[in-house]
Amino acid sequence: MAQVVMKDLNKKYDEVHAVKDVNLHVRDKEFIVLVGPSGCGKSTTLRMVAGLEEITAGEIAIGDRVVNDLPPKDRDIAMVFQNYALYPHMTVYDNMAFGLKMRKFPKAEILKRVQDAAEILGIQELLKRKPRQLSGGQRQRVAVGRAIVRHPQVFLFDEPLSNLDAKLRVQMRVELKRLHDRLETTAIYVTHDQVEAMTLGDRVVVMKDGWVQQVGEPLELYGRPSNRFVAGFIGSPAMNFVDVGISEANGAVWIETQGLRLKAAADRTDRLRPYKGQKVTLGIRPEDIRLASGSDTPDRTFESVVEVVEPLGSEILLDMKIASAQMVARVEPTVRVKVHEPIKMAINTDRLHFFDLKSEAAI
């Protein structure tokens, strides 16, 4: 059991500065997820923790040891790879026992640990098979089992579910979460899938271009994104963005663009006032747009035309145009709308997000 502390962590290749000043404190027993688009530095960060990449500058400590100069085998970590990295010439048992054998564990101990892990993962029957005789899900289980038998201080996962089909991915996701509850081992998990990040992480680290954008609990990231990137990255369908002007009239702050004039909620006026006469980016979550009813005042509604209807069963997504922007609304499955006909929509103005046009930071 251990915490992992990264201090001013940097990784530079010849041309690319892949990881920039990452400071992160992974708490003991925490399940932390690094998420971001490809090339954001998340995998490189993980590989530096593992010892597979050299650290250009900064420091990584696992437990109370700085591991910068420790070879991977001495870092007390176990890693699960995207393509499972199972040895084709070994049986499942030998694959799971590999790390222990290399470390010269007694045979009886290896047997016990492998059997225990196999039982946890429900793969006892597969121990004599070769990897090629296994399905993708089974291989993934073996790869996880191989990490479990090591009883490491920290688990490192590098996109372990990316090669599974959608259904299996959801299932394995739940299993991983259950496993973590049971083993209570610190885990660092890398994925590009924000749903995986939100469902698995005690905390989530959003990265982009080598920089950490925001660290927080899943709902914190969703509800209070620190910048436009995080706001757009977390949540599916993504947050709608439209550039708007800010003005003040009748003691209220107004948000305006062509075809849209909304009154800012009272708790936002102070923060928006400095932007009077300027443009900012308005962010609206799809679930904060709904069909207008009679009680909706004009300062929170707008006219639009639905272009595409996506009935998902549990909800319906409406693709509509407002001013020059494309917007998606998430509405109740009972709502019936006709495409290409004018429709009046209402916006939940208490839950709007605003971002500085230049710095993209949340206002």
Binding site: L52, P72, K73, A85, H89, M102, R103, R132
Partner: protein, 279 residues
Amino acid sequence: MAPALVLVLGVLAYPVGWEVWVSLTDFSTRLDGPPSFVGLANYLALGREPEFWHALTVTVAYFVLTTGLKLAIGTAMAVALAGPFRGRALVFLAVFLPWAYPGSVTVIAWFWMLNPPLLTSYAVAMGGVKHAFDGLFGTGAWAFLSVALFNVWRGASFTAVFLLAGLNALPTELFDYARLETRNAWQRFLAVTLPLLRPYLALAVFLSFTTAFADLANVWMLTGGRIVFPVLGTQAYWLGIRNGQFAEAAARSLSLVPLLVLALVVLFRWFDPPRERAA
């Protein structure tokens, strides 16, 4: 007929069948009239001939020595070339050159190196080495070593490039995982790299096997066609093409078939199906 069948019959079955038939006759350009069937007489004669057994022994020794060296050197070069480093392209080129360059040209360099035709102090020294070597291991030992060295020099580079392609085809994660779990590079090499390369090594052994047993060119170029030391391939060639004793030559070269089949069976078991690599 299916194209594959035509290919097999035309390229394989017909010439082999003809050779088998010839080996059972007394076919020779020295005889008048049509060849007559003699059964296994050619093979029995072969078995009684000490020269044949000598040649077979030399051939096997040649195979074991050259293959062992080629694999060892080739694997070392492949592993060394697998990682990125400055000037890798140049080194790669240098490694590949011995194989890519025409043997008929490079052999001259070897000839001059091992058996200099000019009278220089180097030539005298090399002559001394040659005599000492032959005196120690028997006449022809120096020639044997020369041909073996030349074969290794040319073949090791091919083996290296071949194994390097194999290494590069393997997922890097397999080696990443090994780096996390093993104590040192040597352990990693033995426990992971070597077993993963097994199919490629098997193929390399087989290629080396065929060159060793059918290697006429290297022997011929270095020895100028003289049978300084007998290898079955050169013996058969000499008998068949130079002397016209086709039947004896056929029997001699066919005597290698059981060995080849055995090698194939062993190697293909070792090779194991590529299916195994699907994970």
